[in-house]
Symmetry: C2
Amino acid sequence: MAAHMPAEEFRRHGHEVVDWIADFLERVDTLPVVPEVKPGDILAMLPDRAPEQPEDFSVLMADLDRVVVPGLMGWQHPGFFAYFPGNISPPAVLAEMVTASLGQQGMMWSTSPAATEVEMKVLDWLVDLLGLPQDWKMAGPGGGVIQVSASDATHTALAVARHRAQEEAALDALVAYTSGQAHSSIEKGARVSGFRHLRLVEVDDQFAMRPDALERAINDDRAAGLTPAFVCSSIGTTGTTAVDPVRRIGELARKEGLWHHVDAAFAGSAMICPEFRHHQDGLELVDSYVFNPHKWLLTNFDCSVFYVADRQPLLKALSILPPYLRDSASKGADAVDYRDWHVPLGRRFRGLKLWWVLRSYGAEGLRDFIRSHISLAQSLAARVSDHPRLDLVAPVPFSLVCFRHSDGNEATRSLAEAINRSGHSYVTPSSIDDMLFIRVSIGQSKTDQEHVDRLWELVQANA
Amino acid sequence: MAAHMPAEEFRRHGHEVVDWIADFLERVDTLPVVPEVKPGDILAMLPDRAPEQPEDFSVLMADLDRVVVPGLMGWQHPGFFAYFPGNISPPAVLAEMVTASLGQQGMMWSTSPAATEVEMKVLDWLVDLLGLPQDWKMAGPGGGVIQVSASDATHTALAVARHRAQEEAALDALVAYTSGQAHSSIEKGARVSGFRHLRLVEVDDQFAMRPDALERAINDDRAAGLTPAFVCSSIGTTGTTAVDPVRRIGELARKEGLWHHVDAAFAGSAMICPEFRHHQDGLELVDSYVFNPHKWLLTNFDCSVFYVADRQPLLKALSILPPYLRDSASKGADAVDYRDWHVPLGRRFRGLKLWWVLRSYGAEGLRDFIRSHISLAQSLAARVSDHPRLDLVAPVPFSLVCFRHSDGNEATRSLAEAINRSGHSYVTPSSIDDMLFIRVSIGQSKTDQEHVDRLWELVQANA
């Protein structure tokens, strides 16, 4: 039998790791927000063969600083304004430590009652915290499950919709719809799940899907002998956090028999504050919904929450029962087997970190957190709006500010590059059609007024 | 801004958590291997609403013992002989702590050079460690990626195969093949990826796929106007660890133009020992391959390794490039953007734990570990074979022993129930056709002779 690390050694090394992490969290804002490495630099620091003999733990720790830290992107740096946030938090990190050590496989209720029921309960909590339809609770016809990413959840919705539609139509004829501003995961999920036809529906001047254009596209496809099967609305697109008219799209989807999925990956977390819930009006007309606590709700990746209004089509598409997975408890009305709620069979005990985050911050603490970012974004938007050489390119419903230099794409690109060269602030440039713009996504857990001010000084100095 | 836990408090609580984990790892074999709870028991211990105000960390810790521990399945208990193992190890747990705190999103090279390149290098190491084809290294036409689970990897293979085949054939006509003993993830992946037709090919008396039966099925389907597109071989089926004839299936797949995927989820880890590699003869004829270090190679879930012999069909099926993900480094020849290698966009820094496990145990240590389990299984198989009232139902190529009571299904079921009532040993009953049998999967990281002896005493006393 191979020698495992004895418990006392684990205890000692565990304390060392915790101390390293505590130091890292304190110094992360002194590291460059963008790593200064080229492709291949880290590969070149690593040997070409695994060692035959065990290496000492101190060597592994030393390599964290030597090899790993220089290649880290500043996702946990308060000057990170790129993409959307991917926040860790102290209670979520502590929960991940516990999850790793428990080594549970929650594929069925019986293979981990604790992992299953904590997840069920915490996802019920979120229904109330976010003002979602009560039918989505586990006692209702629907329910929630934690998936890896919004891409996985959206792909699941597409696969379920396709599976339902293929009962009456040819696979080759099925069509999915979303707006031209929707996240790439809808196109990818449609391709992976076997839709041959995806329509990127026209948006209005605020980058929200036009229901009239959707209706026209559906009619055109029916006239061409195709079968419309799925539509995805976005609450907060990735480009500009535009909000599609969920109610009107939902009414159309009901009338036309389409599965209606909502991607609220980033903005869904904001719904913990009642004042933003008008953006999710119409959710009772939705078949499935995803939002990511691992973006803006202080819960480590992976934690993407997927709700369905009715779990039957989901189970019909995904449930398979081989002999080695049969189990008496699974037949009970109360036992949920989460393997049937997504593609993977094995699954980590991810409910624990969400449970600990919700309890450590409390709902009030989380609302303060969301409001602070949105308030920072609103005041940055006002500054941009007042600046003679900058133009806002989209409304700011949440905490993403999109603007450009009034001199056009080249000036905008130079401005973004100047910001990203600073070493302390990082933004993602993006584009709509041929218009380049800068996305300032305010949502990193430690981002405060001083960090936005520092970014603004850079913008002013380079605009 | 919401109040985050200060670094010093994190440090203190981190030490508390590490101590709790060290104690847990020491006492896990004194806990019941199967939890003594009914569906709903844990739900009933949890309040119906999330708290408005923060709760103290000490309350969260207390709830670990009060709520969580009673609902844990003994995946980390040395008397766990059910399913396949799902092992944690001390270095992997320590690495998971670091991964959680770094909060990297490795969707592209540029969003985490460290996460990307450590993963690339470690998967190259495994090619040599396991005797896999050199073409599967990152410098070759193929390459490797860590996915969540074998179900995800197999689903990816199916989606890529379907995407390739649909260029020339109707989706409704595509057919996938695997043996009647293959894992349920192949059927599920086929359904999710949109195959209307899945053939479960006949097996021989050792439960391995019959190539002649596969060839006949392909011919029948072609004659019926369908398009064979995918075949999955298993190296170590879940039921009995049967090994399909990979070379012969590979030759047939090449001749017929099918994508050939190999599921070695459990048994792949054994290939670190050269003496078992005859079971993977023919891998140079394979298009994709999956095995799970999170089962039997001491690396925490999730860590499912997926290799392709040629990355082009994979990238063609899965790559999508929206404006906010465009990045100059990604255009370089060296930069790998792992988002294009699976369904999810976001991804954790999972290479770290594999790196730490390979270095902490060393290749020799891991070989000892695998050999110890296989040796325990061989001697258990010999005892079963010598017992007058027990029959082995399948060969034992690795460390899974399958047997039944000679009096038939009822006696076998009673025997399994007696074992599982013991509180210290847990097995999964399974069946092939109408024959019930007991699977004894020897692979938990701490399982040693004494635990197998204790199980054997139970078997003898109840047989």
